[in-house]
């Protein structure tokens, strides 16, 4: 029983970080219909900036730089590449982001050379014990930060001008434009926010508790592991990102123990398939209604 409870705790903790990553995919998709495959490289940019500044500035300031840097990098991608192809099909833009990802990620790996730096998260490797159950502090903090951010997003989408503009644009771009909503501003903000989310997520990924290794190719691979979470929850739903992240974390942890470690990798995608067959837009995604 202890093992089961511990596995659930592990799974939920991992899920919290996956949810933060998935949220990054969702914000951009919701505003622009583009799946941003460069999210992994935004995570790396944030991590790299923290790694090179943490020695001189300390963790809080370095993290702020990392978050801002990843946000700006996302904004640059949007301004220089995506916004110039306004009439392009979202699928073509998704392919464009794959190219960006390869270039950026390889450049960061080149800069890292033989180093595998940690980012100095003060909570890393300081577990909290409750009886026989261990809570990994990184995952605990990620869960709290995730909940705060996700609540903030939920409120912002519902009540702020930006949120309403974004929803309007997602719903009907032409009508939104006619109502005076500046498409470019909504889109740029979405990219900026998604980039910042990547910057937040990386300080949880690059820890002993989460990935067991410093900033490296592994970090990039983990950012992509969140993709099923976004799909599963529904690519245009913030609540879906959270649920998707938690489901992925739990399915992974439990199936690895009770079926096999090999099966766990498949299990996540199996869960995704099952959800997509039953609900093609994901658990919380908006159903597409097409008049025939």
């Amino acid at each position: 029983m202890t093992t089961f409870v511990q596995l659930v705790v592990n799974g939920l903790g991992k899920g919290a970080v996956f949810a933060l990553l998935a949220l990054g995919f969702v914000v951009i998709f919701k505003a622009t219909g583009v799946i941003n495959f460069a999210h992994g490289s935004l995570v790396l940019i944030g991590g790299y900036l923290v790694a090179i500044s943490v020695g001189a500035l300390g963790f809080p300031a370095a993290t702020a730089i990392g978050i801002a840097g990843a946000g700006l990098a996302a904004l640059l991608i949007e301004r220089l590449l995506v916004s110039r192809s306004r009439l392009a099909d979202p699928n073509s833009l998704a392919l464009l982001t794959i190219g960006v990802d390869v270039v950026v990620a390889e450049d960061i790996f080149r800069r890292l050379g033989t180093t595998v730096p940690y980012l100095g998260a003060p909570w890393d490797a300081h577990p909290v014990r409750l009886g026989n159950i261990t809570l990994f502090s990184t995952q605990l903090v990620a869960l709290v930060v995730g909940l705060v951010l996700i609540t903030a997003f939920f409120l912002a989408f519902r009540f702020s001008d930006w949120g309403i503009a974004m929803r309007a644009q997602a719903e009907n771009p032409e009508a939104a434009a006619l109502m005076g909503i500046r498409r470019s501003r909504v889109t740029a903000t979405a990219w900026l926010v998604a980039g910042m989310l990547a910057g937040v997520a990386v300080v949880f990924i690059v820890t002993q508790d989460f990935s067991g290794i410093g900033l490296s190719r592994t970090t990039h691979a983990i950012a992509f592991a969140a993709f099923p979470a976004a799909i599963l929850g529904g690519l245009d739903s913030t609540a879906g990102a959270v649920v998707g992240g938690l489901v992925v974390g739990l399915v992974d942890a439990l199936s690895a123990q009770y079926v096999s470690f090999d099966f766990a990798k498949v299990a996540v995608f199996l869960a995704m398939l099952v959800v997509l067959v039953a609900r093609p837009s994901g658990l919380f995604g908006t159903r597409e209604v097409t008049r025939v």
Binding site: T2, T3, Q6, L7, N10, K14, T114, T115, V116, P117, Y118, G120, D124, A125, P127, R129, N132, T134, F136, T207, Q208, D209, F210, S211, G212, I213, G214, S216, T218, A221, I222, D252, A253, A256, Q257, F261, D262, A264
Partner: protein, 425 residues
């Protein structure tokens, strides 16, 4: 009259043809058997004044720290040999290439290196050794294979200069038991990477488990997996007394962190590649690393063995800023192995690839001044050249991060173990 452009094209083709012929001429000359400097027969990679050895390593992929250390150790040996007058009156030259631990890249690099080298002083990585297996045999390129899997011992051209993973694990378990950390009938967990590396380590732990009635729980992972917390949680539920690792250094770090965080705190014993100071001593990883023991046939960087101290001194003088790891003394030891073979071939008057290969497989007692745990016996095809290991414990205060805790030893179970291609006596 031919238009000017066509004339140029013809001229360019002619130049290309001549160049091709000259190049072809060069390579066929290299393959000829000749008798040079002091009546010694030679063919590829040996000229009147130079012996060229290949190094196909990893300086950009997942084992780049280890690969860089081994290559620097190789170079230290070359410096020393050349300043002492070389071997057989010839200077040693290295042809160094980086595979990035990718088999496809290694295949291309091999094609470029093969025509000009006598053999490989270093051929790093299981997938690379697997990919080049047939080529090495066809081209008779004797190679020090830095892939310590006894599964490859059926190829006489891939020579493992040390103890194989299965035997490392058997000795490692014997050490844990002698120290009272495990007992007959205990449950022990083993995390291993699918493929030659992990499965060879598992073969060793299975053998030992069978001898001692251990309940062995093996978990297969991929080299790209990172989070081991779930597996360690399962081990805790099963009541393991020790964890065995045939993994990557990052996976090792994750296991050690979970071992401490979950309050399990059992000893962890790993094969030689599980530890890399750049990963396992970085940041918070250093705090939980002391539970890790490593069983390896090469001395740790900080070893008290006199020759290891010499290598350390030379290394720190030549590469003051380089990362220190166990690859450095091992790379040097690889050179020492080749040196004895080359001297033997030279005495026999045959420095051809075949002659050098014969010298290798007739050598039953190669020494490395204790840089490798025992004398190396390459004369028993299929049998690991050494069955001994050093035991080291991770210790962040030591240069290179490992402290030797036991001199070389061979457990009785390691003596009785029969490797996959070993001929039963």
């Amino acid at each position: 009259m031919m238009p000017r452009r066509a004339t140029r094209r013809v001229a360019a083709s002619a130049v290309a043809l001549v160049a091709a012929l000259i190049l072809a001429g060069c390579s066929s000359k290299a393959a000829e058997t000749g008798v040079g400097g002091g009546q010694v027969k030679s063919d590829v990679g040996v000229s009147a004044d130079t012996i060229t050895l290949g190094v196909l390593t990893d300086t950009s992929g997942p084992f780049r720290n280890l690969g860089t250390g081994i290559t620097q150790g190789n170079e230290l040996w070359v410096d020393q040999v050349n300043s002492a007058g070389g071997i057989c009156g010839r200077q040693i030259k290295l042809d160094i290439a980086d595979s990035g631990y990718k088999a496809d890249v290694a295949t291309t690099q091999y094609r470029q290196q093969q025509p000009t080298i006598l053999g490989y002083l270093q051929l790093l990585g299981s997938p690379i050794n697997a990919a080049l297996r047939g080529n090495l045999e066809t081209d008779k390129v004797t190679s020090l294979a830095l892939s310590w899997s006894s599964f490859i011992l059926d190829n006489p051209y891939q020579i493992i200069p040390g103890t194989t993973y299965d035997l490392e694990m058997i000795n490692g378990l014997a050490h844990l038991q002698e120290q009272g950390m495990i007992a007959d009938g205990d449950t022990v967990g083993h995390i291993y990477i699918g493929g030659e590396y992990g499965e060879n380590g598992l073969r060793g732990s299975q053998y030992y488990a069978q001898q001692h009635g251990l309940n062995l729980q093996g978990v297969k992972v991929a080299s790209t997996d990172t989070d081991m917390a779930g597996i360690v949680t399962g081990f805790r539920g099963a009541g393991v007394k020790a964890i065995l690792l045939t993994t990557t250094p990052a996976q090792t770090a994750s296991v050690l962190n979970a071992n401490a965080a979950l309050g399990l705190n059992v000893p962890v014993m790993g094969n030689n590649p599980v530890f890399d100071p750049a990963t396992n001593l970085a940041g918070p990883a250093a705090a939980t690393v002391d539970k890790l023991f490593v069983a390896a046939s090469s001395v740790p960087y900080s070893s008290d063995v006199p020759q290891a101290q010499e290598v350390r001194k030379a290394f720190e003088a030549k590469y003051p800023d380089a990362q220190k790891n166990a690859g450095v003394p091992y790379g040097y030891a690889g050179g020492v192995v080749w040196q004895q073979i080359l001297e033997k071939a030279c005495q026999a008057g045959d420095m051809t690839r075949q002659g050098v290969h014969d010298a290798f497989i007739q050598s039953s007692s190669i020494t490395t001044d204790d840089l490798v745990a025992s004398k190396l016996d390459f004369s028993n095809a299929g049998s690991p050249p050494s069955r001994s290991v050093y035991i080291a414990q991770a210790d962040p205060s030591q240069p290179g991060g490992l402290r030797q805790v036991r001199p070389p030893f061979t457990a009785p179970e390691a003596q009785s173990y029969v490797a996959p291609h070993q001929k039963q006596q």
